[in-house]
Symmetry: D2
Subunit: 281 residues, 4 copies
């Protein structure tokens, strides 16, 4: 996968402190994983380019469609999501759109942006257990139990505190199903994910804990063979769109130093009562 002795263009030196397989440049030349940029422009969609940049190869049309679906479905969940509220608040503080976007993307951490990555790992663990000879239902039950023991009761990719059924998940699963029928993806992770859903319903005595957007996009990313950490990275790209849209809408609405609640509402104070500063500090 390498061209290790690429010569340096005249007047330039190659500094080995920085090394990349992604991009090669010479004056007047830009190539991504070997493809000249002027041949890519006009032939690759944005989603196809995202794939190329992360995987090093150009995806098939079917793969790109699935990636498109995953990326476009997670863009926004409104100002109750901390990332979106923070983007809007930042936009009223006198910073640029790039800063507002960075501020919001920064909070897509383990709890807010990590569920996709964690779900991919869970699905991969179940697949590995099946590969080692376990029956699917047993592997699902055991891996869920392990997950709960290590990380607590929230199973990443399942359940939603607002939506009884997350309207994005069944539609995405339908699309994955069609892609599996067409041979675009194996469909194995989809089966695992549905077995997890069944197992959770079983465990909750019929009260369903249905798959959510993080679970459904994790199925797609895992079917497409993305490493788990990139599920978070791809979610960040996706949510960046909603973050930009809300920062921009807020900027157009105006406002200065917008706080979380109306200004005539104060937080509850639960600290010590008023007291004087001692004289001898």
């Amino acid at each position: 996968m390498s061209e290790s002795n690429d010569p340096s263009p005249e007047g330039y030196a190659r500094n080995p402190w920085w090394e990349t397989s992604i991009i090669d440049m010479e004056p007047g030349v830009i190539r991504y994983f070997g493809y000249p940029i002027e041949e890519l422009i006009g032939n690759l969609s944005f989603a196809q380019m995202i794939w190329l940049m992360l995987r090093g190869e150009i995806p098939t049309k079917g793969q790109a469609s699935l990636l498109d679906a995953a990326l476009m479905s997670g863009v926004d969940h409104g100002p109750q999501a901390p990332s979106i509220a923070i983007a809007r608040m930042a936009a009223t503080c006198g910073v640029g759109l790039n800063n507002a976007m960075a501020t919001a993307i920064n909070v897509l951490g383990d709890v807010h942006g990590g569920a996709g990555e964690q779900a991919v790992e869970l699905f991969q663990n179940i697949a590995a257990a099946v590969d080692s000879g376990q029956v699917l239902e047993d592997a699902v039950r055991d891996e869920i139990a392990k997950y709960v023991a290590e990380h607590g009761k929230y199973i990443p990719g399942y359940g939603h505190r607002f939506h009884p059924i997350d309207p994005r998940a069944p539609r995405l699963m339908e699309i994955v199903g069609l892609a599996a029928e067409d041979g675009v993806v194996p469909g194995r992770v989809r089966d695992i994910a549905m077995a997890v859903e069944a197992s959770l319903a079983d465990k909750s005595r019929g009260k369903s804990v249905p798959m959510n957007i993080d679970g459904a996009t994790a199925v797609i990313y895992a079917e497409l063979d993305f490493p788990a950490p990139l599920a978070r990275g791809l979610f960040c790209l996706s949510r960046a769109v909603g973050i930009l849209a809300h920062a921009w809408e807020q900027q157009c609405q105006g406002g200065r130093n917008k706080g979380p609640i109306p200004r005539n509402e104060l937080p509850v104070y639960s600290g010590p009562a008023q007291r004087p500063v001692p004289g001898d500090i």
Copy 2:
């Protein structure tokens, strides 16, 4: 453009401190600008969704193709760009991919990420001058002069310190030309941008200052009627891809606390020589 008295779903209250036209939610329901998410999924590409989120309407296929081209062409310019180097350095400091992305997107400020926005403004100013009756060449010359007087010698969107000709620009302009022939866009900004290029060459006595990626994408964004600040926002979405790819590559390469230069190279020190701390501070 509004449905001002949308009822609150049962058990929920509408809090007017937060107001948006982008997304409406009820339990089990998500709509973007009125479109139910489950109808959008599978029908809109990522680029089309970006357009919907920023413009409120679904673009035509032709518009979406142009947006795709602009977004995919600016993803990366390698580790010499501060944003990319910073993404890679951040990845070695023990933070998540979301944090590495935020760190890098944050520096896409006026100098590093603002050229597209500034170029759109320049093109719009020239268009306005022509609308007021000036001949194109005069408007171009006057607006360039005004820009230089206010902001200094760098004309946003033209010239490149590395590429004699930025290979992305002519290819993007070719695509805009085809889109104008097909009636997808008016083509007027393209003409203005080429007049700016001609004027700069003229002014530099034949030494060309050719259009760069920022200028070419600015032409597309302006042809598609995006407000100038969104040119920066869209560049942030685009560059976020390269930022993610490089942060991920660096994470896979390993390394801890990667600084800008090899560790046996020290900065030049130009401060006072060694001196003792005075006794009486």
Copy 3:
């Protein structure tokens, strides 16, 4: 102010791409502006070290006391301030304390964190006008008028939407007054700032627009001869304390994905009513 030909320690090279007067290092040696670190430790307070790092010299005790007062008085204004609310929200999203701090400091932009810098500039402009021969009252009136013409009605450093009188400002001004009496600072900026306050009251026909924390700390920073942009930098250092305290308190309180308002409150939606996705996109 320089030791331009400092030799490189053995095995190390000096790379002129990076140059600094702040710190010089050799293996086993760290000096800040020439002072060996082991002589500084135990002799300089944190505020004195902040001064040394920004100014290149060790402050007098009187200067350090004033800097201490300015830094300690701006640490926090509670969760209604976007910076503090954002720090708390970030802490519930699964990111580190460093990330929560960065997220919040990032929004201390022109509107939220820039008033001190802008007030220093206003005071300096008035001082320059007086130096050019204008009477103080005229200079104040003219510079306020210029400021309003360029930036709008908010005079940086004066007025508060919550406090009729900001309790920090008079106390800080009292301390500056004592420092002026003791010869620690000239007291000239204090006189200018009080003349601005008087002029604003006059203009508002007796309704006072009293100095706020930004104005009072700007007086201190300007009396101590800090360049205007450092007024913002110092405010960031100061507010970083409240940001850390609130992020930490929130982390101890727990919570996941804390949004701006209680979860049973939805934003008002003001976009298009529900509509189908057209068939031919």
Copy 4:
């Protein structure tokens, strides 16, 4: 520790979604942990205020001195540290000082900013083992072995890739020793930390792995009873000073889009050789 039914000031409501013990406000009134701000100003140093904000009480002078020493000693390690280089690079990209600071503080993650927190945890684990009846030397050996098994070979707080002996550490330990003699702190963590150093030297067969700045400040924070995560938070406050100083110095030096290495040096490219884009994507 609470005043749960504090009345709301007239015209204001208390919103329980936000709750804090740190600050209480009414129009014209600001109190931190019960202390009116106007009584604190002029009486507390910046370091004392930091303590109050994080601990809820005013420290003794001896405690404040130790905190001062820890905070002032970690401000900067020059542009080879990713945080400092990133601050400088950000300053050339057209963002505000607050944004440059946030960008840099953001990378003080587990690897770059977490060693203090990890060292406090290690010291606390050793103390707990001793409390359970183990001899100090055995507890040290066992806890180091556990740490290595879980986290790898780097012991947080010990060793430095640049300094054979970090000049900050022995001086800080001397100060802690004096504080222990004066009864300001127990001195127990200092003993543990020195036992760790001895054990590491022993293990490395005489080749010392001496305590570094992270270890020495961790001793101070642990002696002062700060919870481990605040060791990272306090390091962020400390390093923020160097970050600001370098961002400011770089801003004054000028430069646009400063990358990590001189512009005539290119990264090494190790990806696929040039190849054409296939026709059928």
